[in-house]
């Protein structure tokens, strides 16, 4: 076995272990210190892992089903992939499918997020358990139920509008997240700016990077607060980060992003949580939450139940 292969195997072992609760951090430190290449291997594996997560839904069939698209004609050159690592013929179909949306395309996610390329080169990462419909001229109308992270190329010639609940977001040239819950819609801007509007609002509300808009649909009330840009859509990186967020909202997010059911009694619903939860293991995330909040925790057939501290 070559040194490179041995390093890659060890790094892969550490990557798997570091997602769990009983990681040997001391041993990992020693392993990293032993050779500079160890760090690089671990980083690259983590990036490969990210990429796999981002593409998991569209690849799900690919693992078991052998590729059926390999025989289509070459339609495009691959200037940088001169090593021949990629069969050029594989490429065209996926591209064609992505760039020619029907009059209306709907994307629905279950347990994993899905990365969606829009016709103008923008991308959307649709969160787990969410639905998005793209329609209109050049895909200019997007309807969202659930949550998504948008990375939108600003094009003044095109009026893109994203609707979530009663809120419409326009005038977009930026990266931002929209989360829609039964009673409210949250917009968090990581970069650039957007404009948010609802019938109940007197005028469109401009939002710049580092701002968060909370729109309470029942009350028709919009609240703007600050958000750390790096924390926007942190679920993309296996993390949920909060600053003074009501516990019931944290529980809803855990259901969506980590797939765990957590029941919060009414008495605790408005308790505020600040901190980060790692969601690669949903059950561990719930335990972390209970510990950080010093709450009791019980599990039964219906899922987890948070309780006042005993």
């Amino acid at each position: 076995m070559s040194v490179e292969t041995r390093i890659a195997e060890e790094a892969a072992g550490w990557l798997l272990a570091s997602q769990g609760e009983d990681m040997d951090w001391q041993g990992f430190t020693l392993w990293l210190e032993a050779d500079d290449r160890h760090r690089q291997a671990y980083d690259q594996l983590a990036l490969a892992d990210d990429l796999l997560s981002a593409h998991a839904p569209s690849l799900a069939g690919a693992v078991i089903e052998p590729s059926v698209i390999a025989h289509l004609p070459v339609r495009r050159r691959w200037p940088l992939w001169t090593g021949g690592a990629i069969a050029a013929s594989l490429a065209a179909v996926v591209l064609a499918g992505q760039f020619m949306p029907a009059a209306s395309s709907t994307y629905t996610t279950q347990g994993a997020a899905q990365s969606i390329a829009l016709a103008d080169g923008s991308t959307v990462l649709l969160a787990p358990r969410s639905r998005m419909t793209v329609s209109g001229d050049g895909g200019s109308q997007i309807a969202l139920a659930g949550a998504a992270y948008f990375d939108i190329r600003h094009d003044p010639r095109r009026a893109l509008a994203i609707t979530a609940g009663q809120l419409t977001v326009t005038d977009i040239g930026t990266r931002f997240e929209i989360r829609q819950h039964p009673g409210d819609v949250v917009v968090e801007v990581a970069e650039g700016r957007v404009s948010a509007q609802a019938a109940a609002m007197a005028a469109p509300m401009p939002l710049v990077a580092g701002k968060r808009l909370d729109f309470d649909m029942a009350a028709g009330r919009a609240t703007v607060s600050a958000v750390v840009p790096q924390d926007v859509a942190a679920w993309r990186e296996g993390r949920l980060s909060y600053t003074s967020a009501p516990l019931e909202l944290v529980a809803r997010d855990l259901a969506r992003y980590a797939g765990v059911r957590v029941e919060v009694p009414r008495a605790l619903a408005r308790r505020q949580f600040s901190g980060s939860l790692f969601i690669s293991d949903g059950n561990a995330a719930v335990r972390d939450l209970a510990q950080l909040m010093q709450l009791g925790l019980r599990h039964d057939g219906a899922g987890w139940h948070l309780e006042p501290a005993r």
């Binding site: 990557l15 760090r39 892992d49 990210d50 495009r76 090593g83 190329r153 990186e237 901190g275």
Partner: protein, 206 residues
């Protein structure tokens, strides 16, 4: 089971950063490969946890040491990801020149003047992964399918495949190693990490 730390403005977990400072710093130095960045990350972490302390996250945690190391590792990964994103954007690992040369793609587009690289990126990443998955050894492929795509825990995968837990870990490690190699061969991690363009591949995996 864990000592209760005084709560207050910089209490709780932020105070524990002080308790484990030496270990955390040694870990971060090795993790970042750079002493100055390690200090930065530790500082970031302390600030984050201090902020959180005022919002209620100041209580004792059952395994605070593990939580702090995971947090530190995640903060480093955030930086690694940011650098990767910047690298992909700047060097556009695969699409240099395609806007001019990719005639077939341009025909399909509603407005040919709009740059295509980000959408291409998504499609091309998927192609690299797709091909890498196609060529995985059968055991690794099945373990990955069950664990990552079907959502089974590692213990369940072991039961389904009739192998040990460590056998599952080996399969998953093999799968991840192959995916990384495929990305490396395409220059995803930047020119420095690949074998040089037009030169064939870094060999030993093939």
């Amino acid at each position: 089971m864990v000592e209760t730390i005084e709560q207050g403005a910089a209490g709780g977990l932020a105070a524990l950063v002080g308790v484990y400072r030496a270990d955390l710093l040694a870990f971060l130095r090795a993790r970042c490969g750079n002493a100055a960045e390690a200090e930065d990350v530790l500082q970031d972490m302390w600030l984050k946890l201090s902020d959180h302390a005022t919002g209620g996250a100041s209580g004792p945690v059952q395994n605070p040491r593990s939580y702090l190391f995971r947090t530190a590792n995640n903060l480093v990964l955030d930086r690694v990801r940011a650098r990767q994103r910047a690298m992909v954007r700047d060097h556009s690992w695969l699409v240099e020149g395609t806007v001019a040369s990719g005639a077939a793609v341009m025909e399909d587009r509603p407005d040919p003047s709009i740059r295509a690289d980000e959408a291409l990126l998504v499609a091309e990443e998927r192609q690299v992964l797709h091909r890498a998955l196609d060529t995985l050894p059968p055991g690794a492929r099945r373990a990955l399918q069950l664990h990552r795509f079907d959502g089974h825990g590692q213990a369940e995968v072991a039961a389904i495949m009739g192998i040990s837990r460590s056998g599952v870990e080996k399969h998953l490690a093999t799968a991840m190693r192959h995916l990384r190699q495929a990305l490396m061969d395409c220059g995803y991690f930047g020119p420095a990490a690949s074998s040089g363009q037009g030169q064939g591949n870094t060999a030993d995996e093939r």
